[in-house]
């Protein structure tokens, strides 16, 4: 069946993206979950994945084209029933035209030299990592020639460390998304402090038997506890769309990851409720590495059903988070700190953590929110249950 492959929305803060390269050619078989194109967004380079098996019939957008969310990128011939991925935002009903018409393939050679700059994929990736805008590279190579990786490297070596333009764009995107969240979502906030001692003791014992590369970190226990609680209690896992709450059976936990030097991305750990801690740790580790390298997959952006955010060991006691639309809940984990705690009438120094919940009042209220936080605390108090 012939269907249109459109630019998906990869988050509330995304309006457009630039097609960087096609990873498959027309006629070549494509498989569900396989990357078929790379686009550049304010969150970095993202691989767009096929959502069904099939082939690409023809390209509509050419590399270099800036596309609005929902714009047709290619026509696909799919084997399964043709449908857009359930979890991505629905594209607008009218196809949006590309913002800028892609230049004809030969145009770069004949156009004046100030026109579009052509970069090899590796060069584009490196330029993005360094926060260098492709438009500023006109003099990095001979007129009409392609800018290669070594051109970028020599340019980077020559110039003083400049604050990245990409970082500024990311800051702007975060601002836009959070402004929308605060404007549209009636947030309510709850906090709950718990003794992280049992989880920490269990973790130390668990890790003592493992090689460094297989050990777990505390954050993974929190991610799993949130995922399990979200799967059990209705109203926190899913999306607010078209004026109503859509529950998701699977829990895809968005993990907010700080990008060194500023900025934040929150890609998803898919089916976190159903994975054991070792698998979750491996995926989280790979996700952090790819997020910091600025290379995530489209599925990871579109699918988070709830988010967990933390400032890490250097953080503060309480983090009041803002919901990432269209999600309806987010957990902020404070830093674990040693503090007095009362156990059976005695005062002891224990490692404490405060979890804060921000949830959408259109879906739940404080009573249910309190149960949700207590259910996460109960899971962390009994780490075997994770």
């Amino acid at each position: 069946m012939r269907v249109e492959f459109r630019l998906p929305s990869l988050g509330a803060d995304m309006e457009s993206a630039t097609l960087t390269e096609w990873l498959k050619q027309p006629g070549e078989p494509i498989h569900r979950g396989e990357a078929i194109a790379t686009v550049e967004t304010t969150k970095g380079l993202i691989d767009l994945e096929a959502y069904e098996d099939g082939t690409i019939s023809e390209f509509v957008a050419a590399p270099g084209a800036r596309l609005m969310v929902g714009a047709v990128m290619a026509h696909l011939e799919l084997e399964g029933a043709a449908r857009a991925p359930e979890l991505s935002a629905q594209p607008p009903s009218a196809p949006a035209p590309p913002l800028e018409a892609p230049p004809p393939a030969a145009a770069a050679v004949t156009a004046p030299e100030a026109a579009r700059v052509r970069l090899s994929p590796a060069a584009r990736r490196r330029a993005h990592e360094l926060g260098i805008a492709p438009e500023t590279l006109a003099h990095a190579a001979a007129p009409g020639a392609i800018v290669h990786l070594q051109d970028i490297e020599s340019l980077a070596a020559a110039r003083p460390a400049a604050p990245g333009e990409a970082r500024a764009a990311m800051r702007q995107a975060i601002g836009a998304a959070m402004a929308r969240a605060k404007r549209e979502i009636p947030h309510y906030y709850l906090g709950h402090t718990l003794d992280f001692g049992p989880a920490r003791a269990w973790l130390a014992q668990h890790n003592a038997q493992l090689a460094v590369g297989e050990r777990l970190i505390e954050a993974v226990l929190i991610l799993k506890a949130v995922a399990l609680a979200a799967a059990r209690l209705e109203g926190f896992n899913g999306y607010w769309r078209d004026g109503r709450f859509e529950r998701s059976a699977a829990v895809h936990v968005g993990a907010a990851i700080a990008v060194r030097g500023g900025g934040l991305v929150a890609p998803a750990l898919l089916d976190a409720h159903a994975k054991d801690l070792a698998a979750l740790m491996r995926e989280f580790s790979a996700l952090v590495t790819r997020a910091r390298a600025g290379h995530l997959r489209s599925g990871e952006f579109t699918s988070a059903t709830i988010t967990v955010t933390s400032l890490g060991a250097d953080g503060v006691d309480v983090l009041y988070p803002i919901i990432n639309p269209p999600q309806v809940a987010i957990i902020g984990a404070g830093a674990i700190r040693d503090a007095p705690w009362v156990i059976e009438g005695r005062m002891e120094v224990r490692p404490l953590i405060t979890l804060a919940l921000a949830a959408d009042h259109r879906v739940t209220d404080g009573r249910l929110g309190g149960r949700f936080l207590r259910s996460i605390a109960a899971l962390l108090a009994d780490p075997q249950s994770l």
Partner: protein, 84 residues
């Protein structure tokens, strides 16, 4: 192994984990956490890389020795000479 050779190798490992770090800007005594916003995941990746590169067992209680370049270099040197 000479401590300078260990430092050079540690720097290379650090660059693998955080490619955005500029080697000439590193302050050897200062904690990675303060210099590069290292979090627990970075610390684990670094410990795993050190363990593999030098063939050392690194229990969790030794993690505090790996928080700065100088600390890590001294730790690796003492462990290598203890094993030799």
């Amino acid at each position: 192994m000479d401590i300078n050779a260990i430092r050079t190798r540690l720097l290379a490992l650090l660059r693998q984990i955080a490619p955005d770090i500029e080697p000439q800007s590193i302050e050897p005594q200062r904690a990675f956490r303060d210099q590069f916003d290292f979090d627990s995941m970075d610390a684990l990746h670094f410990a795993a890389a050190v363990s593999e590169a030098f063939g050392l067992e690194i229990p969790e209680r030794d993690y505090p020795s790996l928080t700065s370049l100088e600390g890590a270099a001294r730790f690796v040197q003492s462990r290598l000479s203890a094993g030799a």
